[in-house]
Symmetry: C2
Subunit: 209 residues, 2 copies
């Protein structure tokens, strides 16, 4: 049975290694998945060699603002005077075809996507020491109060962000992070909700004939 | 970091092969998991060779009814004049110790457990043809109306049950079913909720010292 693809959102603190993990995931020969990387739209000028529709959808400012107006973007942001965003249509078409679409975006964008597509799979890529929070807290006696306060503050902020995501994947090594993400996606394809949605859809399609 | 164990409930239609899959899962050397099979309580007489606390907790009828009264059972049923049930305390103790506890029970029991422990992992073991529902429906022109009606009825009943579960695992082969269950458990251990619960718990424990 052909099942609907997943929208997979990989996000996390800046500098955690999202791009590296995404590239390694795409390079892995994982026969069950056909990952597609969602092509973003932008108003910035193409750089030499960049291809429209492959690297980005290059749009005029007025075109981009019309897409915002018409709610045709899953998320968008303005950065150094240019817009960047994720076109909704591409994601919908590809998942309908049974393909898993991958977004690798910053935390703010991920939370926008979550509001629009809550049934996506939201993965928080965590710095390698986040899972050691417990021992860091337990061993706090060995550090100055200032260091401890800073750590606790950082931990609190990271936890706050994480609560919005479905899964936490520690990036202690790229290979391990990739394996964990593959495991998550395999399991997500076995979720009852997704299975039932697909069957109900096939009933409905039958009825239309 | 030591994380809390999972309560894993494997259930499905009678005759689907729950026992075989469970035994194969336990026999598999899967280093990350320490599966424990939850010992049931019963009022029936021990058979020769059965050990109290290993095969069953053998109880008097009055003891069992007191456990029902005090809500110390995750689920129970009466069968041929004897009670059978799952003691709550064992499941709680083992998961606190970071062990995954496995229940292999009938559908009615599973739904009772779900009401008491909704954060368990509920897996529906499906007969091998359930995932072919779509093609069965599409190809219905080749069968008599009676056969089709019967199939549709069966499909509806199975779907109805499945909606209560988190995952659907097809038992097309025992090895594949075991692999899928392992994948689900690996992914469940990466769930943000479980991760955050563990951290929050460690904060609280710190506060108590």
């Amino acid at each position: 049975m052909k099942s609907k693809g997943l929208l997979v959102v990989l996000s996390g603190p800046s500098g955690v290694g999202k791009g590296t993990v995404r590239q390694a995931l795409f390079a892995t020969d994982h026969d069950k998945h056909q990952f597609l990387y969602s092509v973003s739209a932008t108003t910035r000028q193409p750089r030499p060699g960049e291809v429209d529709g492959e690297d980005y959808f290059f749009l005029k400012r007025s075109e981009f603002e019309q897409m915002i107006e018409e709610e045709k973007l899953l998320e968008y942001a303005e950065y150094v005077g240019n817009y960047y965003g994720t076109p909704l249509e591409y994601v919908q078409e590809m998942t309908e075809q049974g393909k898993d679409v991958f977004l690798e975006i910053e935390v703010q964008g991920a939370l926008q996507v979550k509001r629009r597509m809550p049934d996506g799979v939201f993965i928080f890529l965590a710095p390698p020491n986040l899972r050691e929070l417990e021992s860091r807290i337990v061993n706090r006696g060995t550090d100055s109060e200032e260091v401890i306060a800073k750590r606790m503050q950082q931990a609190r902020e990271e936890l706050q962000l994480m609560t919005q995501y479905d899964y936490v994947v520690e990036n202690d090594s790229v290979d391990k992070a990739v394996k964990r993400i593959q495991t998550i996606l395999d399991a997500e394809h076995l979720k009852t909700d997704r299975f039932i949605d697909n069957i109900v859809e096939s009933y409905l399609q039958e009825g239309e004939e």
